[in-house]
């Protein structure tokens, strides 16, 4: 029997699900291997009976938390799809302020009573990655995901293999492409600490890596510190310099300090 796959989305741009549609002809082959039972963005049918749940988006409110827990209970395998599910997305930056301050900035002209925590749609909004709420079995990182990696992960799962997610820095792929190192042209790139697998797409097109796939598990501190020193930076400085996608790590550090 074909495995039943369901897609779900929370706070996100739905761009990662779009990458699946962007597989074009390949998707026609992929859906022959599985039974897609729910995919709200493209199909009307829906079933609560599924084996693999693929979840995009960050978790914002208690109502979202409940929905995610229900999905976790039903799914044998839960996959976090993209940077919002994996790291909390760019919107994780909002956690620098209290939810009250965020609401004031965005809905300043509203009646405060309408948007307070008694309204479930507005209840304590704070962005969290999926694994801050439930157990996540696999992560497909990136903003957006690499569509070819998605196909590789799905095929690995269907053939009982461990999905191949690289744990080396973006620099590896960037060197392979023989790009000019952005440090040498005066830019600060997250490549040395960011997880590869994106084919170094941003540096290839002249832009600094923003670490949308998070950090590697163990940045090679010694070697990288030596290289970065040459450009007058410490490893810590570079890890704190760009926080577009990696505020999660800083937040975790702050939380840790609070608990100490």
């Amino acid at each position: 029997m074909k495995p039943k796959v369901a897609f779900f989305d929370f706070a996100s741009c739905e761009g990662c699900e779009l990458q699946i549609a962007n597989l074009e002809e390949v998707i026609i082959d992929v859906i022959k291997l599985v039974d897609v039972v729910s995919f709200r963005e493209v199909m009307k049918e829906h079933s609560d009976d599924y084996d693999i749940a693929i979840v995009e988006g960050s978790i914002t409110r208690p109502m979202d938390e409940e929905r995610l827990k229900k999905i976790r209970n039903k799914a044998k395998i839960l996959i976090a799809l993209g940077a919002c599910a994996h790291l909390g997305g760019v919107q994780k930056l909002g956690n620098q302020w209290t939810s009250k301050e965020n609401k004031q900035i965005v809905y300043g002209i509203a009646n405060p009573k309408d948007i307070d925590d008694n309204n479930p749609f507005f209840e304590k909004p704070k962005q969290r990655a999926l694994d801050e709420i439930v157990k996540v079995d696999y992560v497909i990182p990136g903003c957006p995901i690499n569509k070819n990696e998605f196909a590789r992960v799905l095929i690995a799962l269907l053939t009982g293999k461990k999905p191949p997610i690289p744990d080396y820095p973006v620099c590896v792929e960037c060197k392979k492409k023989e790009n000019v190192c952005l440090f040498t042209v005066g830019k600060v790139c997250m490549g040395p600490v960011a997880r590869g697998g994106c084919d170094a797409i941003c540096p290839t097109y002249g832009n600094e890596c923003e670490a949308c796939r998070g950090y590697v598990s163990y940045p090679h501190e010694k070697a990288q510190t030596d290289v970065l020193e040459k450009y007058g930076l410490t490893l810590e400085e570079i890890m704190n310099r760009k926080t577009m996608f990696t505020y999660r790590y800083i937040e975790a550090k702050k939380e840790g300090e609070k608990n100490e």
């Binding site: 699900e17 026609i28 963005e41 930056l93 900035i105 965005v106 509203a110 749609f121 002249g206 832009n207």
Partner: protein
Amino acid sequence: MSDINVHVEHLTRVEGHGNIILNAKNGKIEKIRWQVSEAPRFFESFVRGRPYHEMSHITSRICGICSIGHALASLKATEAAMGIKISEQTGILRRLATHGENLQSHILHVGYLVAPDLLGVGSVFPLIKTHPEAVLKIVKLHKMANEMSDLICGRTTHPINLIPGGFSYIPSEKQFKQLKQRLADSVETTNDVAEIVLAHAGKLPKFTRETEYIALTSNDEYALYDGDIGSTDSGKHPVKDYQSITNEFVVPQSTAKYTKHKRDSYMVGALARFNLNSKKLCPLAKKWVDKFGLKPISYNPFMNNVAQLVEFVHSIEDSINLIDKILGNGLDRYERPKFTVKAGHGVGALDVPRGILFHDYTYNDKGICTKANCIIPTNQNHNNIQKDMEAFAPTLLNKPEKEIELNLEMLVRAYDPCISCSTHYLRVKFI
């Protein structure tokens, strides 16, 4: 007449989360509501403190489908704030980027999201078996549009090459020539797909409701990348006055930020652009306008689907013209922007697949954003969707519940709503 209770939670085949509620008793509507339950992400709050060069990369994440449009509106706001001028080449390349996005977004909507309604199925998947040739043609066009966007922007979803003042990477002359050939080759496939839609266009409800249409408008071109704000009610307005057009306001009994201009609501998107700018369409697009019998001003929101198809044809033709222009001028692959970072305030407007989009930023002298406001097309349409529903639902009450539900769903889908885009959480309350 029996009681009717329609409750569509999390409407499918749209981007984001929205609900439709209709309750009727003895042939009288008690409640009709278009409700949006998308989680808020607070973009305008958390971009405060971010440097100018991150802004377009962050705000492109508002929407996965129209990320190129968000990036460009963002860059235009930054450039307006800092007085950065762009070259003619950058202007042409950005127009190509806009066409690439329009092509991919429109074919995705018409081909993958709307066609199942016209053919009486729940999604594009069963069509792979029943209509394989049509699906493959749609896939081919979608792929061409995505690869065009990849070429110009580095990546279709969350573009890389688009930076303040210009481009960080520009494709080669050979790649532009290949793109031109692909665009020319796709005309036949486009005509085939348009014929299929035309054959089923009779299924689009013949519902009309007079409303105001707002879109960018220009004397020089069918406005997408640049222009003044145009209204079918009040004529032209400068972009800097956008707040006097959108008039965001709060209804006392709702947290929703509505927009309205001359009437209770207005519509933005392909139909609004067509209604204002149809004379500027390219010849083949005009041919399809005639075939579909579309005439400005069309007050049928379902014709937005047809207007998207017409714009698809236009974007192919105009892209070919733009490539000729850029190659004729002599391509400068290594042109890179030069400017000085300074404090300022600026507004950028663009007409993206779902309608007119505004980004408004304030920067300090270090180029750090201190204040931001984004007004998204779908936000401007929600109020019009609600008003359309109120007018459309009474005409449906003698139909079976399933058919009422389908008709209301088709109405919302016709707007091609992009609910995640709504940076302001919006709740439409029945008053």
